[in-house]
């Protein structure tokens, strides 16, 4: 048998094999494992009246809010309190973009507290974006309550 014959034969065997080949797949019952947040942060601190509200897609504070922050700053300094400022958004727009918007709101409040004499070392900020709404409806009534910054004092 010469090489050409051999080659043709191999080719034929290969061709036949590929025609009759059977695919084989496997499944396994490997499952994922669950975990739980242990010792997770829990919401404490006093918020009572310390809520600032914002217009849609905005992070600036109106004069009423400014007055509120001025009063707050005095209270914080008089009682030597620590502050945590939380920024929140309504559900419209993408989640990560809202996380950024929430931070801008928290920062606006933080800057105003500093302007009113609160030491920056006493303030921490966090944005929750649209992840922690206080009202769940998809309407302006709910949205206006969710676009907020909270000043929590400790």
């Amino acid at each position: 048998m010469n090489t050409t014959h051999k080659f043709l034969l191999t080719l034929m065997v290969f061709f036949l094999a590929s025609c009759t080949s059977v695919s084989s797949d496997r499944t396994n019952d490997a499952t994922a494992i669950s975990a739980t947040a242990s010792g997770a942060y829990s919401d404490t601190g006093v918020t009572s009246n310390n809520v600032l509200y914002f217009a849609y897609d905005k992070s600036d504070i109106n004069s009423e809010g400014r007055t509120k922050i001025r009063t707050l700053a005095r209270l914080i300094n008089e009682n030597n309190l620590s502050v945590r400022v939380e920024g929140h958004c309504d559900e419209r727009g993408t989640r990560e973009y809202n996380l950024a918007l929430g931070e801008m709101r928290a920062k606006t409040v933080t800057e105003l507290l500093i302007i009113n004499g609160v030491s920056s070392e006493k303030i921490s900020t966090v944005s929750y974006g649209e992840e922690k709404p206080v009202s769940s409806g998809s309407n302006e009534r709910s949205w206006s309550q969710n676009r907020r910054a909270l000043v929590k004092t400790f």
Binding site: S24, D25, T36, T94
Partner: protein
């Protein structure tokens, strides 16, 4: 002929109530492929006899491309090749026929599903295959066969063995946020991580072994990686401010993400071997929502540097930035299509948030969905389907649409109030 009559009499909008997905076929698929899946011959002691062919039927009908004939409409129920008469199936308008059997193997707690796919028109065997696994993986076996049928007929991979990761928000039954994974049909849902504080932005590692996500468990946002099989968790180096929007690089060694430590949110990459952040974008506006291009060379992101959120692309090596979207005042959360030739994103028009696609060559936008608050689109690894977050009444839920916009479905079986879906890669 029969098929044509059926199509022309099909009303403009048909709603099919399914066991797992509520499917609405918009405008009607002109010519769905007709498939017959004969109930598999059952050679083992298992109660769920007609299970596998029903899984295959619902898989293949999910996206409107296939119409699967029910057994009661069949003239015969062949279980081997000799019993197949092409003429009978042609009479029923069937394009492809699938038969098979389930048997035990020599190994304990292992079964094998043998199957044959016939091309009825050309009167030949298209494919012969088997799937081997434990009896309790019957659903997975069905999904594997669906994948093979899909890929042999459509020429692109099937996605029925893939997974969806998503975030489940607190409800009356469960006060916690949960990071869940489920099959792509919404079944076999499992919580990977549970926390009283928000969880966000799941992203799969390319080997499908890990998920990156944002957790607020420490009172601030931080990115964690979690290994699926062990639940082992690793927090990325925490920086001041926002730590969010993780997105795994295609080769798995880096994570792109958002940090606001420089005063405002910018795009960074994290080297998983060096545990180091590298800054990619630097702008006083908001830069967020990164997504790696399939070839790893670019990162898509949202920025409001022009005044409104628009989608940009940054070349990682040169740091050159290119704006991609120009239509409208809100384009965000972009994801590349697997072929890199287009993007899918959230587009606002008249106050309504739609899922849209844009061809990167022509710049042409196409709006896919018309509901009110659609967001977080994720593309199937074969590029054919987009799943996104939407509302079903007041409830957060997941829905999907084929990239051609023709078939829309709501994932009714999905557990809890689901949001932020992330489609897994193909590998099992």
């Amino acid at each position: 002929m029969l098929k044509n009559i059926l199509i022309t009499t099909t009303i403009f909008f048909i709603a099919v109530i399914h066991s797992q997905l509520r499917i609405e076929i918009k405008g009607g698929i002109e010519d769905p492929i007709t498939l017959a899946v004969v109930p598999l011959e059952w050679n083992i002691e298992l109660t769920q006899r007609d299970y596998v062919h029903r899984i295959i039927k619902s898989d293949l009908e999910s996206f409107g491309e296939f119409k699967v004939l029910s057994p009661e409409n069949m003239l015969s129920l062949p279980t081997n090749q000799e019993e197949v008469f092409y003429k009978d199936w042609r009479m029923l308008g069937v394009d492809y026929l699938v038969i098979g059997s389930i048997s035990s193997t020599e190994i304990e707690d292992e079964i094998v599903a043998d199957y044959i796919i016939f091309d009825v028109i050309r009167e030949r065997i298209l494919h012969k295959g088997n799937v081997i696994g434990p009896p309790k993986t019957l659903r997975k076996i069905g999904h594997k066969i669906s994948d093979k049928i899909y890929s042999r007929i459509q020429g692109i991979p099937g996605i029925f063995s893939t997974k969806i990761a998503y975030i489940d928000k607190p409800s009356a039954e469960d006060q916690n946020y949960n990071l869940r994974i489920s099959d792509v049909d919404g079944y076999d849902s499992l919580s990977l991580f549970s926390s009283p504080q928000p969880l966000m932005s799941p992203s799969w590692s390319p080997d499908r072994e890990n998920i990156a996500y944002v957790s607020f468990e420490e009172g601030t946002s931080r990115i964690f990686l979690q290994k699926l099989t062990t639940a082992e968790r690793r927090g990325l180096k925490l920086e001041e401010g926002i730590n969010s929007s993780p997105n795994w690089s295609p080769n798995g060694d880096k994570i792109s993400a958002v940090l606001s430590k420089s005063g405002n949110p910018d795009i960074f990459t994290y080297d998983l071997n060096l545990d180091e952040w590298t800054q990619v974008t630097k702008h006083f506006g908001i830069d967020t929502e990164p997504d790696w291009s399939p070839n790893s060379k670019k990162i898509l992101f949202t920025s409001n540097r022009s005044g409104s959120p628009q989608i940009y692309e940054v070349n990682i090596r040169s740091n050159r930035i290119k704006r991609l979207t120009f239509e409208g005042t809100y384009n965000a959360r972009g994801r590349y299509l697997p072929n890199g030739k287009g993007i899918v994103f959230v587009h606002r028009r008249n106050g309504i948030f739609h899922i849209a696609t844009q061809n990167l060559k022509t710049g042409k936008i196409r709006i896919l969905t018309d509901t009110f608050l659609d967001e977080s689109p994720t593309v199937s690894p074969n590029g054919n389907v987009v799943i996104y977050a939407t509302k079903d009444g007041d409830k957060d839920t997941l829905a999907g649409i084929t990239i051609d916009g023709k078939t829309k479905f709501i994932m009714l079986s999905i557990k809890g109030e689901a949001r932020e879906p992330a489609w897994s890669p193909l590998i099992d």
